[in-house]
Amino acid sequence: MTAAKPAIEAINIGKDYGTFTALTDVSMQIMPGEFLTLLGPSGSGKTTFLMMLAGFEAVTRGVLKIGGADKTHADAETRGFGMMFQGYALFPHMTVEQNIAFPLKVQKRPNSEIRTRVADMIDLVGLSGHGHKRPSGLSGGQQQRVALARALAYEPPVLLLDEPFSALDKNLRGQMQDELRRIHAQMGTTFVFVTHDQSEALALSSRVAIFEQGKLQQLADPTTVYERPSNRFVAEFLGDINVLPATFEGATSKVGEFSLTLPQAPTASARHIAVRPEKLAIQPDGSQIGLPCVINDRIYMGAQSRLQLTSVADGSPMVIDVKTSDLNHTAEPGQQIRVGWAAEDSLIF
């Protein structure tokens, strides 16, 4: 992958609206065929970045290269990207087939090619038999598929997706995610996908770019951003995490009376140790190792159960996820337990 040329390269891209800075100097390389997710809360700049890639928003600062050529100020029409919008943006007065054929007609492809291509795309997204329907006669999931087929019909090198699944219910969303993964693998198109749903981002992407307050916080593969977040925002945004005040002496760290030897000494600014709920473990009864906590509540979630705890030493709230089958009767609200975790699962902020 290092030898390949990036499909898109952003160099210190920024965007201002008047005096408000929506995006501060984002640099990244998007590799051909990758599935990159832009993740962040609303107002984090992720959609602004996508719209600048698409050419629908003007770039205030920086350089945008597409296929090696400077396209910073090129019109959207000339970039040749596919785009899927929130709310599908289908042409309501056209049938499914006409919607998918529209970009091909714009490109003046021969009619015979348009016909076979439209039929192939309808097959690809599993909409056979719906070709003559109008978008208003389709369900949300089906409209989504039409939008995907239309965006991919002319084989764009890059497909940009702006929160396409935000209007779908949870089951349909899962189904569409699977479908999208399959189509990505099958087509080999570069996907740039915007979402605010972290589990969606982790499940789909080859790399995740996390935005907050107009800044790119971290860009890495899903395992790295989840297991090794570069800062506290990323750690807290990607799922639940316990952030506990800690003291540090060289490589030794103490959270209350629980002492850990870290793989390496943290920087002087370190104040907290953070641990994901599933990395915590309940110590056996009578054990003297671990952080003493009181159980506040026990939440049954099927295969897993979540315990809400309060650290006895300083009253910090904590959560721990354990397999329901591992829980015994002593893990009831009001009981005191000790929890521990491995030094290498500690994140230091």
Partner: protein, 267 residues
């Protein structure tokens, strides 16, 4: 029951001011000068009445097409233009509403008549030798009616244009479609309901026009409403006038029902 009670002042007013005189007219059409349908057969058997009906339809169709075609870009600028354009167009649409139809018709008269502004200018510039006949014919009537009706076409068009999702236009742009392709293949079809609504409103409204055709047509382009007036005041024949009114009302009603049904089916 209490709802009916609350509505009763309005119902009473409508009954007294509208329904009662209307039923009077309907009654006259079959009773004056004697009971029977002779007024209707006289109206429909008269070649003059038919020529007026055809002229009315011809003028109203012209006015409808012109008003909607001109209102479309105007509305587009109003909805999509920048703030200055919007304010300017809003004023251009609203101000005519505050002027009486009479003063507007006289305004057109002073612009278009033989010794009006346009003819005197063109003559003094040496472009024409003889004044152009711009009023006292169908041309003048069409200009005056169109001017009055354009603002009415704007509102149905505006609501249809506002309903167009910007993202649909962005999607088309992203696929490389040109501005012309987007306008004709995406935007215009998506505002079809507004076009149909505007055309309906203008056409129905124009059928009953009286003051503008009277003043700008100068008695030479008599339309159906003026014919009814003439049958009442110049050749007092109330029965025939009432029959003509009834015919006009019923045909407009039938036309509306047919179009609404068609629009309902297609959307």
């Amino acid at each position: 029951m209490s709802r009916l009670l609350l509505l009763s002042p309005l119902l009473l007013f409508l009954g007294l001011a509208y329904l009662l005189p209307l039923s009077g007219v309907m009654l006259q059409s079959v009773t004056t000068p004697e009971p029977g349908l002779q007024n209707y057969s006289a109206a429909l058997g008269d070649p003059l009445v038919w020529s007026v009906i055809w002229r009315t339809l011809r003028i109203c169709l012209c006015v409808t097409v012109l008003a909607v075609v001109l209102a479309y870009p105007l509305t587009l600028l109003w909805i999509k233009g920048n703030t200055t354009t919007r304010v300017f167009i809003e004023l251009a649409i609203m101000i005519p509403f505050w002027l009486s139809v009479l003063s507007r018709a006289f305004g057109w008269l002073s612009l278009l008549s033989n010794r009006g502004l346009i003819n005197t200018w063109l003559q003094s510039l040496g472009i024409i030798a003889e004044p152009l006949t711009l009023v006292r014919n169908e041309f003048g009537v069409i200009i005056g009616m169109m001017h009055f009706l354009i603002p009415f076409a704007v509102f149905p068009l505006a609501s249809a244009m506002r309903a167009v999702d910007d993202r649909v236009i962005l999607a088309a742009r992203g696929m490389g479609a040109s501005r012309m392709q987007i306008f004709w293949q995406i935007f215009v079809p998506m505002t079809k309901s507004g076009i149909v609504g505007a055309a309906l409103l203008v056409f129905v409204f124009s059928l009953g026009f009286y003051i503008v055709p009277t003043l700008l047509g100068g008695g030479r382009s008599v339309m159906i409403a003026e014919l009814i007036y003439l049958r009442i005041f110049q050749i007092p024949n109330w029965g025939l006038a009432a029959a003509l009114s009834a015919l006009l009302m019923v045909s407009i009603g039938a036309f509306l029902v047919a179009l609404i049904k068609r629009a309902g089916v297609s959307s």
